[in-house]
């Protein structure tokens, strides 16, 4: 390479060059015009890419909901779990299965729909006080769009404030819109309030009078409405405002959106975005069957015929279903054929159920299951077993559906997983409009004191495009240009056809009748009754449900504690949830309880401000007290914390011996106690008691050995192929469990006898332990094989689904689980009777030291209220429900309340685990010698080869050992113990897997 070429390469990283190289390059630039031009171009390129990044950030700031909700699904504790809204009691509405269709790919919508459901409770059990509508005096106010903001003006004396209620996760996205609106409308100030805060609840389990509360306390509300809401005189007719507002552009709405909110001569809401159902199909499955892809306008007969043709069977077992109703929305598909059974004009559903077309449609639908056998039916789980994810959706995830129903917004999400197409629901001879349009809207309270100002805000919002993100079709065609441009042309064609052949559907339906109808259809699909008999029984069943609802409603329930309760507090402290996975609502409730005993202290609970780098100093700067991980070894970081040692000896001291010692040690250094442990999350083995019982096996004891573990797993293993029952389902990342068992079998990855430490991959005990563990899969077949690495070659999501499918179907005798790590994607059925037991003891008969995640409470050094914070965190350590893992205090774990919460047996096991906790030696070693971790890829590679039968344990680990030792020698030679880049070079020089 000549000098010019070398210089060109260096130009690419000019700004990061060390000084000596920079001088060389600068010299070269003096004489090389080509290089100078290239450098100028690179700088411009950097600017462009920086701007691109900022634009993406701006987008995410504007539209944070999709990302936040997606993460909430993965990290469930940041938001109310999906499970909660589905928990229904006799006095609660049944969730519409159609809402489940939003699925993991559209959780935003799901949550919104859930909210709607829970708002829209039956008025029979919710007497509504009719408000007297104020006289409407619409003004011809010009609604200014954000593209033409008026100059900032001082707030006039007659400025009015309107309150806008929306979901807590959506508040941030409205901030820039409010700024723009207020700039253009200086006489109006918009205050947002989270609906949860307004209702004084911490979840989506809203009170029965939620509608009334919201429309009493806010001028404009993100709300789904129905004729019953209007009948309660809670919302204002928008017709006069629309007529007087020349900018509103009534014609600029997609069909069945604005009109969905028009009845009885009024317009009761302004839609915000729309969504609708489509049928998705797996093109590979169609190709395998030699079946042509379906086209919009296909008939029901063609649909059934196609479903049969693409169904695949192995013997009697269906391996691919022709059609899967992903979210058990049987009623939705039937309504696509009959038209809406519940809408603003439907006054007598029972009468409609007697119509021949309705009877025929239900019968045809049942035939798809019972005659054609092209669609699977799963009995709806009991309310307490609802997880939000149906068995049907798992089939879709696992690729066992050739066609399935889903919302259009899930298209991009689905299309990343397999080659799919979409088509509209089938039509009938008499009914071409088979697409149900779901529109959500914003309403204006009938009690608003400033209706004209509130309308201006409403109208302004209607011009702001999609509410939730790029996958939602904005309500106005004029705002949807980008949506269509970025869509695949074939998909766009289908979606346009769907909109042109649509009809509106209301979310808010009379619970008893709808639930009775759903039950009737389910009974029909299960083959328990005929269609005619089932539908004829709907009115009776609905009345029974209604009576039960009324009886339940008569039972007084304590009123929710209002978040806005007036306080006499003289001290306000901010507590931030930085590290824990606890739900914020739970902590807020605890804060209210705390305030009852400490009336002078108000605790404001929140998450830390959203920023790119949130570290201990950053959260300490934003909070008076907070929770965080127990790593406080950096003296600089400790400087932002209050040393709690004096509090432990002060007037409001607590007994440190009440904490499990291994936990408190994690927060204690020679110079102080820097935090109070709050919880720990140990890993245990969970087992299916029913399977143990069925095989006549005794449940494992807490002192069981690995040999006993294998013996039990063997006896729990049966069958083969797709229905095989496994004795043990490990973690879906194989090495996570493998390393725990490795220790128990006497193996170790590191040799501590050397200085510096070395590796023990090929130590006979390690080889034998690896052989033992991989034999669970290869030799004994008692454990399925999941992901062996976390690189991109693993379809991790699929593995995850497969593991849960195994557990959910009762085909796993034992599996590992981490206490206190909730999961909303998949949950064990509530009816599954499981027990837990510590992992088997080691070869020496002692429990191995396993990693255990922990969290603790801290007080910020800058807080002016350390004593108040101390009282608060002290209070938290006493609450059994303040954590999701195991509480850090003995007295709490041993308390009756906690034992009742988790069960005696589990509490005893937790206590034993925390009592015996000592930090794993490997963790300590890696902390002291982090360079050792860079050899891990060779260990992972060896594991993969052995478990897949590509090498013997001896050979694979010998190779891993040789490479690790070569790496170690390189690190020693280069004295690179603290030079990570050099360590990386050493590892790369040896040759990393896949390099």
């Amino acid at each position: 390479m000549n000098n010019h070429q070398q210089m060109q390469e260096l130009l690419a990283i000019y700004d990061h060059l060390p000084a000596d190289q920079r001088v060389q390059v600068d010299d070269h630039l003096q004489t090389c015009a080509e290089c100078a031009a290239a450098l100028a171009a690179y700088r411009t390129m950097d600017q462009a890419l920086q701007q691109m990044r900022q634009q993406k950030f701006n987008y995410l700031n504007r539209e944070p909901a999709l990302l936040e909700q997606r993460l909430a699904a993965t990290q469930p504790t940041r938001k109310p779990p999906l499970r909660a809204p589905w928990r229904i009691g006799v006095n609660q509405r049944s969730p519409l299965p159609v809402l489940q269709m939003a699925g993991a790919g559209a959780l935003v919508l799901l949550l919104v729909l859930l909210a709607t459901l829970l708002i829209g409770r039956n008025p029979l059990d919710t007497p509504v006080t009719a408000a007297t509508p104020t006289t409407i005096e619409p003004t011809a106010t010009v609604v200014v769009t954000p593209t033409a903001p008026a100059p900032v003006a001082a707030a006039p004396e007659n400025q009015v404030t309107i309150r806008f209620a929306t979901y807590d996760w959506a508040e941030a996205q409205y901030e820039p819109l409010i700024a723009t609106f207020e700039q253009a409308n200086p006489d109006v100030k918009v205050e947002t309030i989270a609906i949860q805060e307004l209702l004084g609840v911490d979840s989506y389990d809203w009170p029965d009078d939620a509608n009334e509360q919201m429309l009493t306390k806010a001028d404009v509300v993100d709300l789904f409405i129905s004729p019953r809401t209007v009948g309660g005189a809670l919302v204002r007719d928008l017709t006069p405002f629309i007529a007087a507002d020349p900018t509103f552009a009534v014609a600029d709405f997609y069909p069945n959106t604005l009109s969905a909110f028009q009845w009885d001569g009024g317009t009761w809401a302004v839609p915000t975005s729309i969504n609708f159902n489509l049928i998705y199909y797996d093109q590979d499955r169609f190709d395998e069957a030699g079946v042509a892809y379906p086209q919009p306008g296909w008939t029901w007969a063609e649909f059934v015929q196609t479903a049969q043709a693409v169904t695949q069977r192995e013997g009697d077992e269906v391996t691919v279903w022709g059609f899967v109703n992903t979210w058990s929305d049987h009623l939705g598909l039937i309504e696509s054929q009959t038209g809406p059974l519940f809408d603003a004009a439907t006054t007598n559903v029972a009468a409609r159920l007697r119509e021949p077309t309705v009877l025929d449609s239900v019968q045809r639908y049942a035939d798809l299951f019972l005659q054609a056998r092209a669609s699977p039916f799963f009995k709806p789980p009991a309310p307490e077993n609802e997880t939000g994810f149906t068995q049907e959706s798992t089939l879709v995830e696992l690729g066992q559906a050739a066609m399935w129903s889903d919302f259009m917004i899930n298209w991009q999400w689905r299309s990343t997983k397999r080659r799919i197409g979409v088509v509209t629901y089938p039509v009938t001879a008499n009914r071409q409009n088979s697409t149900m349009i779901f529109a959500d809207g914003r309403t204006l309270s009938a009690r608003s004191a400033h209706p004209a100002a509130a309308w201006r805000w409403l109208s302004f919002l209607s011009h702001q495009g999609g509410r939730f993100g790029p996958d939602f079709l904005p309500l106005r065609p004029s705002l949807a240009t980008t949506f269509w441009q970025t869509l695949d042309p074939d998909v766009a064609t289908v979606m346009r056809y769907a909109i042109d052949h649509s009809f509106p559907v209301l979310y808010d339906r009379p619970y008893p009748t709808e639930q009775a109808l759903r039950d009737a259809i389910a009974a029909t699909l299960a083959g328990e009754t005929t269609v005619a008999a089932a539908l004829a029984n709907v009115p009776t069943a609905a009345e029974t449900l209604r009576q039960a609802q009324l009886a339940s409603a008569a039972t007084p329930t304590p009123p929710p504690v209002s978040a806005g309760t007036a306080t006499t507090a003289t001290i306000t402290i901010t507590y931030l949830i930085g590290y824990s996975t606890i739900e914020i609502g739970t902590v807020r409730t605890l804060a209210q309880q705390f305030q009852q005993d400490h009336p002078t202290i108000q605790v404001k609970v929140n998450y830390p401000p959203y920023q790119e780098t949130l570290d201990l100093p950053a959260i300490a700067a934003a909070a008076d007290c907070f929770d965080w991980s127990p790593i406080v070894y950096n003296p600089d970081e400790r400087s932002v914390l209050v040393n709690l040692a004096p509090f432990l000896t002060g007037a409001s001291a607590l007994d440190p011996s009440d904490f499990y010692p291994g936990l408190l040690r994690q927060f204690t250094l020679a110079d102080g106690v820097w935090g109070l442990p709050s919880e720990a999350k140990p890993k245990v083995i969970e087992y299916n008691k029913a399977l143990f019982d069925a095989h006549g096996l005794a449940y494992p004891s807490s002192t069981w050995t690995t040999d006993e573990f294998v013996a039990l797993a063997k006896q729990l293993t049966h069958g083969a192929g797709r229905t095989k029952q496994y004795g043990f389902a490990g973690d879906f990342y194989e090495l996570s469990d493998a390393e725990l068992f490795l220790q128990r079998r006497g193996g170790s990855l590191y040799d501590r006898s050397s200085n510096p430490p070395s590796f023990a991959f090929d130590h006979p005990a390690t080889v034998a332990a690896l052989q033992w563990y991989t034999d669970l899969t290869r030799g004994l077949g008692i454990k399925p094989l999941f992901a062996t690495s976390l690189d991109a070659s693993n379809p991790l999501g699929m593995t995850y689904a497969q593991r849960w499918a195994l557990l959910n179907s009762g085909r796993a005798g034992m599996w590992t689980t981490v206490i206190g790590v909730p999961n909303t994607h998949y949950q064990l059925p509530a009816g599954l009777n499981s027990g837990i037991v510590p992992l088997p003891v080691g070869v020496d008969g002692k429990p191995a030291a396993d990693p255990m995640a922990m969290t603790g409470y801290y007080i910020a050094a800058a807080s002016p209220h350390p004593q108040a914070c101390w009282e608060w965190i002290r209070f938290l350590t006493e609450q059994p429900n303040a954590v999701q893992g195991v509480p850090a205090r003995r007295s709490v774990v041993e308390s009756a309340a906690y034992r009742q919460q988790v069960g005696d047996g589990r509490a005893t096991i937790y206590a034993a685990l925390l009592d015996s906790y000592t930090p794993p030696a490997d963790d300590l070693l890696l902390f002291q010698h982090p360079w050792l971790a860079k050899a891990r890829p060779w260990w992972e590679e060896a594991y993969t080869q052995v478990v897949k039968g590509e090498a013997t344990a001896t050979d694979a680990l010998q190779v891993a050992q040789q490479r690790a030792e070569a790496y170690r020698a390189c690190v020693i030679d280069a004295n690179a113990f603290t030079n990570e880049a050099q360590q990386q070079s050493c590892a790369a020089a040896v040759g990393l897997p896949g390099q």
Binding site: T416, E612, L790, L796, Y800
Partner: protein, 180 residues
């Protein structure tokens, strides 16, 4: 009472489950970064979620990871590159209309800096192996060393890729070509 406490100057680190907090820090930049690589918001959301899952599964390694930022970006990069390759199987950038020519001359770039769509299009036509280091370097201010760590490469390879990525990007932008 403090005297009853067992003080251990050599206390080991707690096995860290820093994932929740760590990912809260990185969610937005990671999502934006992934979008730079895949040019598809829905897929970016999906892969951000997947990044979290993988990060969660590797949480036991976190105490030993000095540069957590590089670690997170490494997971995200692998996922994004893999996703792009999978998608390429049946359609190259179906959402980006990559077939549309980008008729900007290089010397016009400065004047069209605000044309982010054109930048994204040129970037999207870059092979993912080059796209990732260029975005990390130019957009996210990663050092060569950090990129090496994030992409599991040695530093020399990073330098070569950055040079080639810059030249290719420049060429793509100038030519408006649609082919890699």
């Amino acid at each position: 009472m403090i005297s009853d406490l067992s003080i251990d100057n050599n206390s080991p680190p707690a096995p860290a489950e820093t994932v929740s907090v760590l990912f809260q820090h990185y969610a937005k930049p990671i999502c934006a970064y992934i979008h730079s690589l895949v040019d598809d918001w829905e897929l970016a959301y999906d892969l951000t979620q997947e990044t979290y899952l993988r990060l969660y599964r590797t949480r036991d390694r976190l105490p030993a990871v000095e540069n957590q930022r590089a670690w997170v970006y490494r997971i995200a990069t692998n996922l994004a590159i893999n996703a792009v390759k999978r998608r390429k199987r049946f359609a190259w950038l179906p959402w980006s209309k990559a077939h549309e020519r980008v008729d900007f001359a290089w010397h016009d770039l400065e004047a069209t800096l605000d044309n982010q769509a054109a930048v994204q299009r040129a970037l999207a036509q870059l092979a993912p192996e080059y796209r990732a280091p260029l975005v990390l370097y130019s957009s996210y201010d990663f050092s060569v060393r950090e990129i090496a760590e994030a992409l599991h490469l040695n530093e020399s390879a990073v330098k070569v890729r950055l040079h080639r990525a810059r030249e290719r990007f420049r060429q793509l932008y100038a030519e408006g070509t649609t082919h890699e």
